[in-house]
């Protein structure tokens, strides 16, 4: 079964297989990040901007701001969770309050036509 992922309602949440899995308004700890000059960004997620899949990971770029320094913008790609067995379709979300490392990626979020 293909995994369906997208953001909806102005980026309010990540949908995986038509279930609301990750919400805005959580604080994410971001390490080794270029979002701001803080050693660790204390990042408030305000909206999901882009969603992609790098099997088995579901990834996203999130708009928001570091509540430590106030820098605002959009993160590099973050792992939001995993669909380990696509047949079963069950999504395991990461814990936003643990530590995350955003990555730049060169491939497309969606395959070309």
């Amino acid at each position: 079964m293909p995994t369906s992922v997208h953001q909806l309602d102005d980026g309010a949440w990540l949908s995986v297989n038509d279930a609301r899995e990750v919400n805005v308004s959580d604080l994410w700890w971001l390490a080794r990040q270029e979002f701001c000059s803080c050693a660790m960004a204390d990042f408030l997620a305000e909206g999901f901007v882009e969603i992609g899949i790098d099997h088995p990971n579901v990834e996203g770029r999130i708009a928001g701001q570091c509540i430590e320094c106030g820098e605002s913008g959009v993160t590099d790609w973050l792992t939001l969770g995993r669909v380990v067995n696509p047949e079963a379709g069950r999504f395991f979300a990461v814990d936003p309050s643990s530590v995350h490392v955003p990555e730049r990626r060169r491939r497309l979020a969606s395959p070309p036509e």
Binding site: S4, A12, W13, N23, S25, L44, E46, G47, I67, S72
Partner: protein, 613 residues
Amino acid sequence: MPSKVEGWKDEIYGTEIREHLYRFAEEGWSAIPEDEHDAWFERFKWWGLYHQRKGQESYFMMRIGTPNGRMTPQQLRVVGEIADEYARGPVENPEFGDAYCDWTTRQSIQLHWIQLQDIPDIFDKLEANDLSTIQACGDSWRNIVGSPVAGRDAKEHLNAWPVIKDLHDTFKGNDEYSNLPRKWKVAVTGDTRGSGQAEINDLGFEPAVKKIDTDEQSSSSDQNAKRSADGQKVKGFNVTVGGGLARKEPRFARDIDVFVTEDEVADVAGATSALFRDHGDREDRFSARIKFLIDEWGPEKFRRVLQQEYVDFELRTAGEDLRDQYTYNSGRSDEIGDYVGVHEQNDGNYFVGLSVLVGRMGAEDVIELADLADEYGSEMIGLTQRQNIIVADIADDDLDAFLDEDLLEYYQPDPHPFLRGSIACTGTEYCSLSIVETKNRMVRYARWLKDNVQLPDGIEDFHVHLSGCTASCAQPQIADISLRGMKTRKDGEPVEAFDIGLGGGLGENPQFADWVEMRVAADEVPGYIRNLLRIYDERAVRDEQRERDDGLGDRESFREFIARHDEDELTGLAEPEETSYEDPYLNNTKMTWYPYAEDDEMDASPAPSPADD
């Protein structure tokens, strides 16, 4: 590549959604295929149904669009009855109980906890009373806003109600315009108050006058034409495009240098929305609003394309505007800019504007007010963009008795300014986007301020707009105190917070707020407002030109005081501070299934409701 939402809209959208909605209502919640939830919930918006947030699955917010916020007392009663019967959730709200109506900043009505199986009955009842949820949400013509008392107001440029009614009748349920790239918000202002707030709408019609050659004004109404030496001075509207507040991208609507008469409004409005339909961005919903198209094109190109491709008569250049008369949400010291209080109508009767704190009114009170209005012979109820309610057509002889009614002790025509000026959006109670709790908190803020803060001499009107996120549904950028939901840490723990802005408002010279205090913990906001008002009290200057009876000049208004300072001076002007104010919602209300439930853990959610199957 068109967005996923565009793909769903291509399959089914517009009026045809209704038959599917009825099928699901008949078959039950579980009849909606699980892998089609997102597509259907996106489509249901077109019929005014918005799936509530995580933890509240199977419950919907229902929005009823009332153009200009206008209803009859009978229609208001019907809305109250529907709320009483159907808008009851599993848990009461501690401030408002259960079963209530929300009056919104776009003069619509929102009900919560609506279940699928009840929708046909609700639609039957609404439509039997000429009310509807059609296009109340979704990508099309939304509720048209303007003065609720159009045709009655003594401060009127022209009666815009026939124009608005015509737009409503023409563009609701119209397949040509039912699938736009994004929402389409229209305001028509016919008064001299500026009450339509056209500046923050996708398409605005602002009151204007223009001299027109006799042979040129054949389509305009004679009653609004006044002969002068070199033509006739005609009343009409200037057209503005591309206003909006959302996503930290606020824009005032741009002047596209077009004047229209009343008779031309529908043609130009249709042409403008057709241009948006054809040229708006369908690939990226974040860039889809027309404000971004006009950013890209500029008003001159926009006008040129509109003229060449969409309008089959020669557009006139803009007329003379009436902005210097605007009072609505303007921060002027000489007149309070809202409809609250007793106002004489042009027929000698009165309309009475009642303050509804944060726009939420219990269903029983709604029914009682509808009956009162009927009893006093009122033929019109109005909702305002400041979330208040108006009862029109009260006869002079009845006015004292009406004002003495018990219900008006709570919904007051002369409320304390802290109650009168407070606006709040839906917040984490129901909304997926919001970062913080809003309505109950704003109620607590307003009451604390009223009980603990001496309002300085010179301030009779003070607007606090509290919005839970950057979507800006409470219009935070155009208030004296702008509050936008945020988070911060207190003793290492995450707490709900606000960015604070100052100096916003509309009127002759509209201004967006400067954001001057960031990430202020929610329990320190009332202390900040108190401290800021103390500073105003110490430093506000008097204007000797505006002399009062006591020989002193009138003080500058709060907005004038803020405007006198630049952003750097405003930052740190007052300090946030903990006070006796207590905030029960400091922790992450979004993590709960419902912030006020005794067991509020997400796992304790009763949703989806078993009653739906």
